[in-house]
Every structure is written in structure tokens, then in C-alpha cells.
């Protein structure tokens, strides 16, 4: 009984969060005219053919092909990002070493430059070694803890785990790697799940880097396909088709999130951030 106000509050908030998305799904059935003239999300008619056209795309391949492309990028990238970020964050959070402050400053600093400034020099770098128009520029940097934000997140959470845990394990004879794998990683498992999910979702949405790096249409990830038809310079575009493509494109993200959400909070409750 006590929980009813909580449900009401959360449901109200949920409506605010989800209404625009319902509208979006509804809009994929509306004509350009209807989209802007009606605030109600339910369309006048339910014509699924737009989804068929969206799925087929204007290219020789269907959206399924581009989903696969995206996964070829996302899966290695996520694995690389998690492993490298955990190692680097462990180094920063638990050890002292020469020039530590400088390296941490460099790590933070590498997040401050807008991506549009660095992407062009990187493109010329990759093209000099002939690896442009491959997935290498999109995945390999993740091996080297390229996302400073993840390292920063992990450092903060590692530091929340009491040092006594490590020390106890070391007394039992664990080396540095075993401490990491058996003590620290389980403590911050929810954070590791979070950064995997972030990598997944952010890569799904990333537009600029693949746009510059990939030029063969057959290698395009989904984010480029979603904008393939959005061109106002000529005859304009059919909004419902763009929206339908986006809706299809969202399905894996929503599924991944829904599957992962339990894990966000079920780490081993071990003092954690209460340092």
C-alpha cells in the first residue's frame, strides 16, 4: 500500500519519458502533413508498407546487412574498451608510479578536444597506412583505452572499494592481476556492465567518425544508413520512412538495455563507493 504513491510518481515520469517515443512510432505511419498537424500519436491508418520500404533501404542491401556491419564494429570495440579501460583505471586507482599525475592529466585532457577537430588528422593517418574504409579505425583505438571517460568512471569506482580488500587478498598470496580479477572486478561489476552498454549505445549513434572513415556503401554502419535519405537539397525526403528506419534501428539498443538493466545494480554489495 505504501508503494502506491511511488508507482504513481514513477508512472507520471515514465509517461513524460515515453510519450515522444510513442509519437515517433505513430509518426512512422503518418504522412508528412499529418506529422506536424496532430499532437496525438495514434495515426489515422496503419500502413506497414513503410516498414518494408525502410527495411529494404535504397541500397542493394537490406537493413539486416547494416545491422551486421554495426555489430562487427560494436562487439570487438566493446570487448576492447572494457579490458583496456579496466586495466588502465586499475593502474591509476591503485598504484603509484612516475609521472602519474601528468598521465592522468593527459587522459582527462584527451576528452576535452571536440571530435570534429581530431577526426580529419586521424583520417589522413589511417589513409596513409591504407586502413581507411575498413573497421580498423573504428575498433582498434578502443584497445588503447581511447574513451577517457570510461577510465575516469572506473577510477572513481575503484577508489570506492576499500583498500583493505586488496590487502587481505595480497596477504593470502594474490598478485596484482589476481587482486584485480577476483576482488575488484566483482565489486564494480555494475560499472563494467554500464560501460559496455554505453559503448554499445554510443557506437550505434556515432555518425561523424564512420562518415569520415568508411566510404564503401556496403560497409556503412547503420548510423550512416539512417541519414542516407535525409537530404533536403533535392526533392526532399519522406519523413515517415526516416522515422521508420530509426524505429527499426532502435530495437537492438532497447533490447540490449532491457537485458542489461538488472545488472546495473546487482554488484556484490561490498562497501563500494562508501570510501
Amino acid at each position: 500500500m505504501k508503494k502506491i504513491p511511488l508507482y504513481i510518481l514513477m508512472t507520471l515520469m515514465a509517461v513524460v519519458m515515453i510519450y515522444p517515443l510513442l509519437w515517433l512510432v505513430g509518426a512512422s505511419f503518418k504522412t508528412n502533413d499529418e506529422i506536424f498537424s496532430s499532437a496525438w500519436f495514434v495515426p489515422e491508418s496503419l500502413d506497414l508498407s513503410v516498414y518494408k520500404r525502410a527495411w529494404e533501404t535504397v541500397t542493394p542491401f537490406s537493413m539486416g546487412h547494416y545491422f551486421l556491419n554495426t555489430f562487427f564494429i560494436i562487439i570487438p570495440k566493446t570487448i576492447f574498451a572494457v579490458i583496456s579501460s579496466v586495466l588502465v583505471a586499475y593502474g591509476f586507482a591503485r598504484f603509484d608510479f612516475p609521472l602519474k599525475k601528468m598521465f592522468f592529466a593527459l587522459l582527462m585532457g584527451s576528452m576535452f578536444m571536440p571530435a570534429i577537430v581530431t577526426v580529419m588528422p586521424l583520417y589522413s593517418l589511417w589513409s596513409k597506412i591504407g586502413l581507411h574504409d575498413t573497421y580498423v579505425p573504428l575498433t582498434i583505438p578502443a584497445l588503447f583505452a581511447a574513451e577517457g571517460a570510461f577510465v575516469f568512471m572506473l577510477v572513481q569506482f575503484f577508489r570506492g572499494v576499500p583498500r583493505e580488500f586488496d590487502e587481505a587478498a595480497r596477504i593470502d598470496g594474490c598478485g596484482s592481476m589476481r587482486v584485480l580479477i577476483y576482488i575488484l572486478v566483482p565489486c564494480i561489476r555494475p560499472v563494467i556492465v554500464s560501460i559496455s552498454v554505453f559503448t554499445f549505445l554510443w557506437t550505434m549513434n556515432d555518425f561523424l567518425t564512420p562518415l569520415i572513415m568508411i566510404s564503401s556503401v556496403e560497409k556503412y554502419p547503420l548510423s550512416l544508413i539512417l541519414r542516407l535519405s535525409a537530404d533536403s537539397t533535392g526533392d526532399g525526403y519522406e519523413q515517415k520512412k526516416i522515422i521508420a528506419m530509426s524505429v527499426i534501428g532502435l530495437i537492438p539498443s532497447v533490447a540490449v538495455f532491457a537485458a542489461a538493466q538488472k545488472k546495473f545494480i546487482s554488484g556484490i554489495t561490498a562497501g563500494g563507493l562508501s570510501g
Binding site: M13, A14, V88, G109, P114, P141, F144, A149, I242, I265
Partner: protein
């Protein structure tokens, strides 16, 4: 090199840490140093982005300082950051507190609350957001039912900025997730002890939750500040920076100079000014919270 005393566990040398961060050092040398250095050098040149940069010393920087457009963009970006970040932190913390409850169906709520963040700057979201604030759009209809006069959202600088702020506020999911990660780590005994001492919900929130969350608050503060300072796609697509440049952020300025105006030398100079600005902001955040979070990095 000074002879420092490295506080490492017994038996761990001073190079273990260095070894662990090797991936970062290599990655930095390969993928960060070059673009940063190239950008710094190009910032000192007159360069169209394609051919033969011409060294012109600090001219780009002096042009920048005397440019009212640059100063305007700095003002807009700071204003946007100062409005958005506190709001976003508050909302995401409140949402995380709600979603931390152990009730049936909580997973569905969590997914719904995160949905907007999944969308990011997806084109469809922009179409939708544009629609929400059109005259006669959903927001207008809502304010009408409450009896408020219909306002033109896009034509006025402040409300145009509010549109962008609201979009990004609505996408509070990532910050919320980090709060959720941390909230679960607070042992429930703390709350029980507080209840025994006669603390209500509100007091135990301020006495226990907030202090124990200080690290993740700091984390979110820094990450959200960096993200807000770099804002580009939302104003680019929704307001085009207008009206009268009132939503024209530094991110848009850099983009325009770089790609639309083929003025890459200047764009790189602005990027470095921007870099310094963000560095200063983050340093301030580190300094202000140093004592409270015992930050020693």
C-alpha cells in the same frame, strides 16, 4: 626525476602501475598526440583545410579575441552548461533514487527512463523535438489547457535555448545509471541505523546518501560539464544556432569555420582556446571538490 616515495602495496614496484596504463600511453602516442599536435600547429596557420597551411603566428588567436562572434559563442556555451548541468544532475539523481526501489516491474521503468538517452541525436528525435515546440504543437497545447498564453518558442533567444536544454535534460540516462551503480553500494544498515536515531527520509538522504555519493556526483559533474561544453548537434539541427546567435555554441562555431567556411586554421585555434577553457573549468571542479572527495590524483 625527484626521488619520490611510491605508496604501493608491499612487493609492488613503481613500474607496475606504469605497465598497467601502457595501453593508454601507447594509444595516446598513436591516436591523440598527433591530432592534438597537428591542430596546435594548424592553429598558427592560415589554412583552408586542404592545401598548404601558411604560418601566420598568433594572428588567429588575436582575431579570435577581438571577434564578437567568438565571445558570443563562449557566453552561450557557458550559459548552456551552467543551466543544464545542475538540472541534469538533480533530475538524474532523483530518478536514480526512485529506480533504486525494490518493487515489481522496476526493470520496465528503468528501461523507459533510459529510452530517451538511447536516441541521442538521432534524426528522428530532432524531428520530434522540433514538433513538440512548434506553434500549435504539443507543448503549446499543454500550456493552453493550463491557461497560459502561447509563446513563440523558437523566436526568442532564451526560450530557444530552453528547448535545447530540455532535450538534453530529457536524456539524463547515463548520469542516472552511474548514480544507480553507486546507490546500491550504500549498505542498508546505514539507513536502518539512521532510522533508529530518528532520522526521516529527507534527513537520511542529506546525512547518508549525499555524502556517500560524493565521488559519483563529482564524476557526473565533470563528465556532464565536458559533454555540455561540447554541445553541437542539438542546436545545429534544431535551432541552427539562432535566433540572433543565441544558441550558437563553440562547438558549432568550430564546425562552421572548419567545414562550412573552410577556415581550418582559425577553427583549430578556436579549438585550442576551447580546450583551455574546458581545462580551466575542470581544474576548478577538481580544486573545489578536492577536500570533499579526497581526490588525490
Amino acid at each position: 626525476m625527484k626521488n619520490l616515495n611510491y605508496r604501493n602495496p608491499v612487493g609492488v614496484g613503481k613500474y607496475t602501475g606504469l605497465l598497467l596504463i601502457m595501453p593508454f600511453i601507447i594509444g595516446f602516442a598513436l591516436f591523440t598526440l598527433y591530432p592534438f599536435a597537428a591542430s596546435l600547429i594548424l592553429g598558427l596557420t592560415d589554412y583552408d583545410g586542404i592545401y598548404s597551411p601558411e604560418f601566420i603566428g598568433t594572428e588567429n588567436f588575436s582575431d579570435m579575441i577581438s571577434s564578437s562572434e567568438f565571445r558570443g559563442a563562449v557566453g552561450v556555451t557557458l550559459k548552456y552548461t551552467f543551466i543544464l548541468v545542475p538540472l541534469k544532475l538533480t533530475v538524474s539523481l532523483l530518478a536514480a533514487l526512485l529506480l533504486n526501489a525494490e518493487i515489481k516491474g522496476i526493470g520496465v521503468y528503468r528501461t523507459i527512463f533510459y529510452l530517451p538517452s538511447i536516441l541521442g541525436s538521432n534524426l528522428a528525435v530532432v524531428i520530434m523535438w522540433q514538433f513538440l515546440f512548434t506553434s500549435g504543437g504539443l507543448v503549446d497545447q499543454l500550456t493552453e489547457t493550463v491557461g497560459l498564453p502561447s509563446v513563440g518558442w523558437y523566436g526568442d533567444g532564451n526560450s530557444a535555448m530552453l528547448i535545447i536544454v530540455l532535450l538534453r535534460l530529457w536524456e539524463f540516462g547515463s548520469a542516472m545509471i552511474l548514480f544507480l551503480n553507486a546507490l546500491r553500494d550504500i549498505p542498508s544498515e546505514y539507513y536502518e541505523a539512521a532510522r533508529v536515531d530518528g532520522c526521516g527520509h529527507i534527513r537520511s538522504f542529506f546525512r547518508i546518501t549525499l555524502p556517500l555519493l560524493r565521488r559519483v556526483i563529482f564524476l557526473n559533474l565533470v563528465l556532464q560539464t565536458i559533454a555540455a561544453m561540447q554541445e553541437f548537434s542539438a542546436p545545429y539541427m534544431i535551432t541552427g544556432g539562432g535566433p540572433m546567435k543565441s544558441t550558437y555554441t563553440i562547438g558549432m562555431l568550430i564546425y562552421d569555420e572548419m567545414f562550412r567556411f573552410h577556415n581550418a586554421g582559425y577553427a583549430n585555434a578556436v579549438s585550442w582556446a576551447f580546450f583551455v577553457l574546458v581545462t580551466v573549468l575542470v581544474l576548478i571542479l577538481f580544486a573545489v571538490t578536492r577536500k570533499k572527495t579526497e581526490e588525490d590524483i
